[in-house]
């Protein structure tokens, strides 16, 4: 470094000149090391997969079943640890099915698209269209008009409003819409985040848990519901046998099972939040008055707003009345098309707002799940899982439901709930067959329990979105989450043993 000395010499300078070469050397040395450190789980997963494939095939399992099982284990490790971008896992699953299983590439390609996947894709496009309508201000206005200014009622109102909306349009949509409302209320109450820590926790968790408990309400509440509906059809439906028609679950049938459960949970959400975080302010009059002024400044509803509401209402009616004929996926993409035709959302917004990798991922995961069934791997795992449960007396009835619910809750807290249902679904449905339980009830137990991801930030979309506000700590999720898990599990078991048997003969 032959630089002209422009500054008075500092003692540090001499030291520095000598060590300039060093960082580069260190960097070169650690460069490849860093790569392996970052991707270590990818290599661990591959090693586990290779280990499983080189083991002798256990009794009762075919060679193909073993390959699929190894692929599922590798995919699960990758889902949880995310060393590579998740859509990569989808690509690897497709490659594995063709190259390891020897399935014809045309068959694999066809197995990727189904009504469930179309439905997931259409719902995501609808979600972006709905968020872009800026209806959040209207919702906020309605909300504070109804709830008044008491913190308790505002928290309850937020949970209920978030929940009612989320049950139809999906939890991520509503979390994205309600988050600014909650943040504005907090911000208008006090500028200093320390003074409103508990209030912020109550209001933000009201949004995220309100959305989470509602996500089970209807098939459009979350991708996992559509995945389970797809599995029921794939596993049990046989067009030639009228007995199996009960496994075709449509929009209304799903709501009959799950909607009451969502409504039951809402009051408990508010109760748990208010007792865990005692808000600093019992009354938010100041914030509410300012919020009203802010919202009223936006003026009256525009014609475009009404058209948007009308289109969404029609989509909802379509799901309820025509999904049996045309498929829920068709209705969803019809709605997305209608928003685009009406000019209410730009394609560029839809294109950048939907994470297309997720659609690909669910497509591949469902395809893998169906392979689990076809090769007998799902049945084999189910039988072994049941054998483990027998000594605890949990192999039938409520005990089995509790075990499945526990397993699902554990898995869903480590990965996205859609992926959890995609991975566990085939095993649980086969478990129901082996244990001679109703696959419908056990399927509901799984998809409902997958919403119990209250413990971590990554558990449910609503939690992730709310966490982005910066007001919450990761430990807050643990602090209140375990109470939510217990509450939801108890309510689900009661509903499953009292109410669901009334619905399914």
């Amino acid at each position: 470094m032959a630089e002209a000395p422009r500054r008075p010499k500092s003692p540090y300078r001499a030291l520095k000149a000598r060590r300039l070469a060093r960082p580069m050397r260190v960097l070169r040395r650690t460069g490849s090391y860093l790569y392996f450190l970052e991707k270590r789980w990818f290599f661990i997963a591959l090693a586990v997969g290779a280990g499983m494939l080189s083991m002798p095939v256990p009794e009762g399992l075919t060679q193909a079943g073993m390959i699929i099982l190894a692929m599922s284990v590798v995919a699960t490790i990758l889902f949880v640890t995310e060393p590579v971008p998740l859509p990569t896992v989808a690509l690897l699953i497709i490659i594995g099915q063709v190259m390891l299983m020897g399935i014809d590439s045309k068959t694999v390609a066809q197995s990727l698209m189904s009504d469930s996947v179309l439905f997931i894709m259409g719902s995501l496009m609808l979600a972006v269209a709905v968020v872009k309508q800026k209806l959040d201000a209207r919702i906020a206005w309605l909300l504070v008009r109804m709830t008044g200014t008491k913190t308790v009622w505002i928290a309850f109102g937020i949970s209920l409003a978030s929940g009612l909306l989320a049950s139809f349009v999906g939890e991520h949509t509503v979390a994205a819409m309600m988050l600014p409302v909650g943040l504005t209320l907090i911000h208008l109450t006090s500028d200093d985040p320390k003074k409103v820590r508990n209030l912020a926790a109550v209001l933000l968790f009201s949004i995220s848990y309100g959305c989470s408990v509602a996500g089970i309400g209807t098939p459009s509440g979350g991708a996992r519901n559509a995945i389970m509906i797809g599995y029921w059809k794939e596993f049990f439906y046989d067009p030639t046998s009228p007995d199996t028609f009960k496994y075709l679950v449509d929009y209304v049938k799903w709501m009959a099972y799950a909607y009451p459960m969502f409504l039951l949970q809402i009051p408990f959400v508010t109760l748990i939040l208010l007792t865990t975080f005692r808000p600093e302010y019992k009354d938010l009059s100041r914030a509410v008055v300012k919020l009203r002024a802010q919202v009223e400044a936006q003026g009256a509803m525009k014609p475009g707003d009404w058209v948007a509401i009308l289109i969404f209402f029609l989509v909802l009616l379509g799901w309820i009345f025509w999904s049996a004929n045309y498929g829920m996926g068709t209705i969803a993409i019809l709605g997305a098309a209608a928003f685009l035709v009406a000019g209410l959302v730009k394609w560029s917004d839809v294109n950048s707002g939907v994470n297309w990798g997720v659609v690909l991922l669910y497509a591949a995961a469902i395809s893998l799940g169906v392979q689990m069934k076809d090769t007998g791997a799902a049945a084999w795992v189910a039988q072994n899982f049941l054998d483990v449960l027998v000594p605890f007396g949990m192999d039938t009835g409520v005990g089995l439901w509790a075990a499945v619910s526990l397993l699902t809750t554990g898995v869903t807290n480590t990965m996205s709930n859609g992926a959890a249902v995609a991975v566990l679904g085939p095993i649980v449905l086969k478990l129901a067959v082996v244990a001679e339980e109703s696959p419908i009830i056990l399927g509901f137990v799984t998809s409902v329990s997958s919403a119990f991801a209250y413990l971590t930030v990554v558990g449910t979309p609503a939690c992730t979105i709310v966490y982005a506000s910066g007001y919450l700590k990761t430990t807050d999720f643990l602090k209140v989450g375990w109470k939510m898990v217990i509450m939801s599990t108890i309510i689900m078991l009661v509903v499953a043993s009292v109410y669901w048997p009334l619905l399914s003969p």
Binding site: R6, I120, V128, V131, P180, L183, S352, V358, S416, T464
Partner: protein
């Protein structure tokens, strides 16, 4: 590499290497602002010290948000006129520097932006430059994860010191730490420059420098003496012998270091020579000081993984701040 990113590399590297650049990682915690106060103290009254405040926002994982991009939610927040957390934290840091008098109102201000794939916010920075050439930079960065982001930032700016807050509880030790290390630990291990892990950092109780007589530790003592003299912090020396036989070596190490410091014109307040487990003795004595400073362990790769370095153990278990000097 986008064009603007190249521009940024040029922009940060052209200043001559006489400057001492400090990267303060801001995450909104009290710990990170205490670290910033310390950086301000080093920079105070010295025109050749720059402070860079950096907030790293991890990129979004679509699956976690259920397939709806987080950008949609963020755009919605911005539309309500609310600020995103990173900007809020950086502004708080800037206001703190203003309060301390280390950032004047009349400084030149310039904003830079570079796009990052997959997010509509990208990297943003605001550079404040004083007439003397002294800079304060606010940087909002997007990266795969926080640790990678900070290490990337180092490559752009080649900082001399990184200050990062210690996690509230150092929960992941041993094997768990290997599989999923804390950000502060990753930075301490991989950053090619000195790293200060701030924990209840209060200024003024002095530095406790650890030395074992090796060339690396003497180098570290020299570098730290430079930093300590900038913030007028008193310096003490410690050396720990593993058993009684090697006590003389330890005494010699302290004497050597003391001589080096005196040659530099830096006075030494106290010296300690202890016998016992280095980690325990250093942590115990270090509790009376603002921070413990030590050289990077010379173990590497598999050996570091198996044996674990003294420096890492001190970082994890100390009651106060620890600086690894490189």
């Amino acid at each position: 590499m986008t064009e603007s990113e190249d521009a940024e590399v040029r922009d940060t590297e052209t200043p001559d290497h006489n400057r001492f650049r400090i990267l303060v990682c801001i995450d909104g915690s009290d710990e990170s602002y205490r670290g910033l106060r310390y950086a301000a103290k080093i920079a105070h009254g010295h025109d050749d010290v720059d402070i860079v405040l950096c907030y790293v926002r991890p990129t979004d994982h679509g699956l976690r948000s259920g397939g709806l991009q987080m950008d949609v939610a963020r755009g919605n927040i911005l539309q309500w006129g609310l600020e995103l957390p990173g900007i809020k934290y950086l502004k708080k840091g800037r206001d703190l520097l203003r309060e301390l008098g280390d950032l004047g109102k009349d400084w030149d201000q310039a904003a830079f932006h570079s796009d990052v794939q997959g997010t509509n916010l990208g990297d943003n920075k605001i550079v404040y430059t004083a007439e003397s050439g002294k800079q304060v930079v606010l940087k909002l960065k997007v990266a795969d994860d926080v640790a990678t982001g900070i290490l990337d930032q180092w490559e752009l700016g080649h900082y001399d010191l990184i200050i990062i807050g210690a996690p509230a509880r150092w929960t992941k030790k041993g094997l768990g730490g290997f599989f999923d290390p804390e950000v502060a630990e990753t930075i301490a291990v991989h950053a090619p420059c000195s790293v200060l892990v701030a924990r209840d950092l209060e200024i003024g109780s002095g530095h406790l420098m650890c030395t074992d007589g090796t060339e690396a530790s003497i180098e570290a003592v020299k570098k730290d003496a430079w930093i300590a003299s900038h913030c007028q912090c008193p310096i003490s020396l410690i050396s720990v012998a593993q058993d009684v036989e090697s006590e003389d070596d330890a005494k010699q190490a302290v004497a050597d270091a003391r001589k080096v410091l005196l040659d530099m014109g830096v006075s030494v307040e106290e010296t300690f020579v202890k016998v016992g487990s280095p980690v325990e003795e250093i942590i115990e004595e270090g509790a009376n000081f603002s921070m413990i400073t030590m050289a990077e362990s010379n173990k590497s790769g598999i050996k570091r993984f198996l044996v674990g370095s003294v420096a890492m153990k001190v970082i994890q278990n100390a009651h106060n701040s620890v600086m690894i000097v490189r």
